[in-house]
């Protein structure tokens, strides 16, 4: 095993992406993902790769489209307002079945919002990452180690299912340092073959076309149905979640990313008081880990969702539980980070039989 090093989440992800065979990065500066791009700018040229700063996020994602069409393991990273600009390109990549890694180190919105950590792009990532009838795989790290580990996973899933993959992080994970064991570099010979790629036909095959346009309605429907069969396979095989103390949990927190770390502390505090609290941490946000949630229903009396937003993932929890258990909510937004103590108070109130639907302004009013 290689040694533990101390790295920022943004840098660990960048280094891990290089080790996963990524040699092309196209980006545009934005806080708080800056270190990721800067790391790539420094490292990629030394690996025979390319860092190119595009004139805009729009251009960057379309350069990613081109490089992905050429068959490269390629990525871009940005933060919330920049991801909005990339949505056009992401939609085209979905339509053209192009794999690539898109990192969103979330900050507050709407508009220019703020630069503090946020999870307010959940809906965008899982519901509306571009126009049209499609999805992308969305992975949510909670530690710097996971920031690193997910790079290779994202490329593997993208290549296997021919889809863009997003790592949905936040400013906290991007900026913080933790010990991390970097993955071993992949041998470029082990990267999957891409016979569909635009490499020049070399007089050796029919010419390839990368395209998302189908003017005949039946052809468009057929292409979408084929893609949704892959989505179905993704939903069956690629749900990921971590459970913590859920075996006997009566009160289950559902939280992802940085919030899950805080929730984990809150569970420990609650257990020390005799409240049987547990945590489900969705790791894949699309596909949503419905099965993991449903497995906890038997013992659970109530669920508590916490996010850095006014409540977006909470929709998926309600869908997964389908009314079988009460779903409570507590959040901060705009860059305020909830404390373990706040979640502990929420758990105490649940244990006392109350129900909670608290966003900050309500708690202030109370």
């Amino acid at each position: 095993m290689s040694e533990k090093v101390l790295m920022k989440g943004n840098e660990a992800l960048a280094e891990a992406a290089i080790r996963a065979g990524c040699r092309h990065f196209f980006g545009y500066p934005i806080t708080p993902q800056t270190e990721l791009a800067a790391y790539m700018a420094k490292r990629l040229p030394r690996e025979g790769g390319l860092y190119l700063q595009a004139e805009s996020e729009v251009a960057a994602i379309n350069m990613v489209y081109g490089a992905a069409a050429a068959g490269a393991r390629v990525m871009t990273s940005s933060s919330s307002p920049g991801i909005s600009l990339k949505q056009e390109g992401i939609s085209y990549m979905i339509g053209a079945d192009l794999p690539a890694l898109i990192v969103n180190v979330q900050r507050g919105g709407p508009g220019l919002g703020g630069i503090q950590p946020s999870q307010a792009d959940y809906w965008q990532a899982t519901r509306a990452v571009g126009h049209g009838d499609g999805h992308i795989i969305v992975l949510a790290p909670a530690t710097v180690q996971e920031m690193a580990d997910m790079a290779a996973l994202a490329f593997e899933l993208g290549d296997a299912y021919r889809t863009p993959v997003m790592i949905l992080a936040d400013g906290l994970l991007g900026q913080m340092m933790e010990p991390v064991v970097l993955p071993e570099p992949l041998n470029s010979a082990d990267l999957p073959a891409k016979p569909w790629a635009l490499t020049g036909h070399g007089n050796a095959r029919e010419h390839n076309v990368v395209n998302s346009l189908f003017l005949v309605a039946q052809e468009l429907e057929d292409s979408i149905l084929e893609r949704w069969q892959r989505y179905r396979a993704i939903q069956e095989k690629e749900q990921r979640a971590e459970k913590y103390l859920t075996e006997d949990a009566e009160y289950v927190i559902v939280a992802y990313g940085a919030v899950a770390r805080i929730a984990r502390s809150a569970c420990n505090l609650a257990r020390a008081e005799g409240i049987r609290a547990g945590l489900i941490r969705p790791i894949s946000l699309w596909p949503y880990p419905v099965a993991a949630l449903q497995e906890t229903v038997a013992n659970a009396k109530a669920y508590l969702v916490s996010e850095f937003s006014m409540g977006q993932m909470v929709d998926d929890v309600r869908l997964a539980l389908a009314g079988s258990r009460p779903v409570n909510f507590f959040s901060h937004t705009g860059g305020i980070v909830q404390t373990p103590d706040e979640l502990l108070v929420a758990l105490r109130r649940l244990a006392a039989g109350e129900s909670i639907d608290l966003v900050p302004y309500q708690s202030r009013l109370a």
């Binding site: 950590p117 913080m176 340092m177 933790e178 770390r261 860059g335 404390t339």
Partner: protein, 187 residues
């Protein structure tokens, strides 16, 4: 042992580097740790600060809101965080920059004229490391050997000439004997 540390001061005082030293010590000791620079709402107020968590368990929130130890290098930082410190927590202040006395009786306080000590010893800019030395002495979060190794690790290769002065600064802080009029008020 769990130890949550808040380091705060003006930008340029080496707050982030001081935090990094502590984090590297945690890494070398094989502990769980996190390091988080000024980020988020606590950036308001114009102070640079840094949260470092050391633990034997996985770190929950990397944002330190109730520090076991506060290392403050100016008055605004002291004022800002002093009331967040847990009871019996440690508060270390650069007396040269912040001539303050503890406003609470339930903390362990130490004022170190770190900036002055640094200048007297030809260690300009290393007040931060002097304070880390005092923090080490007062809390025992690691050992002097580990901290010296952490200096070896965290000083960038192109600045190797700074390794010796950093170690000297660490020792000065570690050996500092408080002779402070504030001591009477500390618990």
């Amino acid at each position: 042992m769990e130890m949550n540390i808040m380091l705060a001061g003006f930008g340029g005082q080496g707050i982030l580097f001081a935090g990094k030293l502590i984090a590297y010590a945690g890494l070398l000791d094989g502990r769980e740790l996190s390091w988080l620079p000024s980020y988020g709402p606590e950036m308001r107020g114009g102070t640079a600060n840094c949260s470092v968590c050391l633990s034997d368990e996985p770190i929950g929130s990397p944002l330190v809101t109730a520090p076991d130890a506060l290392l403050a290098m100016n008055v605004p930082s002291f004022d800002r965080f002093i009331n967040d410190v847990v009871p019996s927590g440690v508060v270390i202040v650069d007396k040269t920059m912040a001539n303050v006395c503890p406003t609470r009786a339930d903390i362990r306080f130490c004022g170190v004229p770190a900036t002055q000590l640094a200048e007297e010893n030809g260690l300009k800019g290393l007040a931060n490391v002097i304070l880390v030395g005092t923090l080490l002495k007062m809390t025992g979060f690691s050992t002097i050997e580990t901290l010296n190794a952490a200096i070896d690790k965290s000083v960038p290769p192109r600045k190797q000439e700074l390794v010796a002065s950093n170690k000297k600064a660490l020792a000065i802080g570690f050996d500092f004997v408080p002779a402070d009029d504030c001591l009477a008020t500390s618990a």
